[in-house]
């Protein structure tokens, strides 16, 4: 017997969760784009395409206030933001490349300092993953060890069925709880026929071989060759489910304001720039090198994981057409 849910019941489930006070984040139309965003109703769910940005913003918003300050005659007063106030959340329709990413980021957000802004959202979020039945020519999850039907990172996993609806597989206790709490919306079916999974046209990359080359080639003519056209726009980092660097800026006046944690990108020329004008990464190819090194060497050295889930967004979004797969293949050839 397999648990299944119809498309209509999935939308009813979303309505029911919202009614209970749960925040539901899922792909929805935002003008010409699809984005992961809080839904007001199940009708808004849009599962026909990969959202423009990844689902990481359900845990790590593009921009969030981390404190507020106020200054009066008695001095400066600082008001902390309490992560305990974050709502219970269900992330619905996360593609395998997006569902796998938050678990990779757990390592950095808890390795020493515990970033409760991220970790509390992780604790309070149930991820409902969705298998991909269509891939485009930028998708490359198999190259980094995932697949269009990989359940890594999902709590509950949906597989689209022939004739509509989804097979539902509880992957974790959180997923089981979601099923149990709304059992009337799910059906038990004896025979189900899943739609065939998508088949991204991508060979598996030898990540160990790539890392081995990176270990010994911090200085190499290749960096200039592949990154000379990088415009430093940061689009790749902003679209990436695994990039996680951020900036801390104050916005306000002398009297009052907020401190914000904003996404940032190591590709920006000012990312490492000192006020004195000294810049440890003074050239764009050094910044691009850091991007590749961080994803395929440093993060692996430190946490044993790769900072890439093969979603292909950086390939689709790069304005100068840098294809990370071609970069990795070049490295692989040299390795």
């Amino acid at each position: 017997m397999r648990k299944t849910i119809t498309d209509e019941s999935l939308r009813l489930l979303i309505n029911s969760l919202i009614k209970e006070g749960t925040r539901v984040v899922a792909p929805k139309k935002a003008g010409a784009m699809t984005l992961y965003a809080p839904l007001a109703a199940g009708d808004e769910l849009t599962l026909d395409s990969l959202p423009r940005r990844s689902a990481k913003e359900a845990f790590f918003p593009l921009c969030e206030n981390i404190l507020a300050y106020r200054k009066d005659k008695d001095g400066v007063k600082i008001k902390d933001i309490d992560p305990a106030s974050f709502p219970e959340t269900v992330l619905v329709g996360a593609r395998p490349c997006d569902a796998a990413a938050p678990a990779i980021l757990d390592a950095v957000f808890s390795w020493d300092y515990h970033d409760e802004f991220f970790l509390e959202r992780r604790r309070k979020t149930t991820i409902v993953g969705l298998a991909c039945t269509v891939a485009d020519d930028a998708c490359f999850c198999p190259a980094v060890g995932l697949s269009p039907s990989d359940t890594t990172g999902s709590d509950l996993f949906l597989t689209p069925l022939t004739g509509g609806g989804y097979a539902c597989e509880a992957v974790t206790g959180k997923g089981e709880a979601l099923l149990a709490g709304h059992s009337r919306l799910f059906e038990e079916r004896e025979a189900v026929q899943p739609l065939p999974p998508a088949e991204p046209q991508q060979e598996k990359l030898d990540l160990a071989r790539i890392k081995e080359w990176l270990d010994g080639h911090f200085e190499d003519p290749l960096w200039e060759e592949i990154a000379s056209r990088c415009a430093g726009c940061g689009a790749c980092a902003f679209l990436c489910p695994a990039c996680h660097c951020f900036d801390i800026v104050d916005e306000g006046t002398e009297g009052k304001g907020v401190r914000r944690k904003n996404w940032d990108a190591c590709g920006f020329s000012k990312f490492t720039n000192h006020a004195s004008g000294h810049n440890p990464r003074d050239l764009q190819n050094k910044r691009y090198r850091n991007r590749i090194m961080h994803k395929f060497k440093y993060y692996h050295d430190k946490f044993g994981q790769t900072l890439c889930t093969g979603c292909g967004r950086c390939v689709r979004g790069c304005p100068v057409g840098i294809d990370i797969r071609a970069v990795l293949e070049k490295i692989n050839e040299r390795g």
Partner: protein, 283 residues
Amino acid sequence: MSTNHDMTAIPLPATVIELRKLSDDTTLFRLRLDDAIAARRLKVIPGQFVQLSVPAGGEVPISLAALPGEDGALELCVRRVGHVTALLHTLAPGAGVAIRGPYGNGFPVTDWRGKNVLLLAGGLGIAPLRSLLHFLLRHRSDFGEITLMYGAREPAAILFKEELSELSGRRDMHLFLTVDFVSEEPPGGLVCHTGLLPGLLSGVNFTTENTVAALCGPPALYRCVVEELQGFGFPADSIFLSLERRMKCGVGLCCHCAIGELFCCTDGPVFRYADLRGVEGAL
């Protein structure tokens, strides 16, 4: 989660109690935390830094230029170079700011007991080394010979002139000063060489046996001073460098200060040269 007195999680309000102009563009800020309990609990290792913020400006990482004073005051040496430091330079005593930290490892002073210590400062690099020197002098009998070599661009750019004048009269340490060029007489009767720090290093006598070197200065200084020190026979694990990077979060998350897989804010800012040799892009 943050507790009331955990300064690494959220900044604590502080008040500017004194400003001391050290040069045209550099001022020593003496601050006191508004929360007396937090001020009392504050433990500082020489070489650590804090994130100092000013309303309407934002945060800036600044080395602690001294150990907390008996009055609980913190001393930060701030050069006017960017928008936050420019705003800081407009403040008057009584102004409200905020501090979080201290962050970073600081100098491993407990490992240095019984050793001679050579401090090498270039320009504003004197700030973290001043807190180190204060520590060494406070625990004078724990250490061997103490030598401070300090280079500045010109006589007017020498920071802490009065203190240096006092230090030059001490018999329990050696002080050598140098300036890149001389356009005027060094003030306060300070004896001053002319030339760059590596030149000073090769021109004066100091003990190299059982000696650790602590270096902080502008980025261009490190390679040539390290080379000079190695020429004198300093092993790579006896050379300690305090590096400058653009620290933002201070807690090893945001990646702004990454040096390879190391974070300057949590793995540093003080690194053994032996640990940086394999880390390309570090110096």
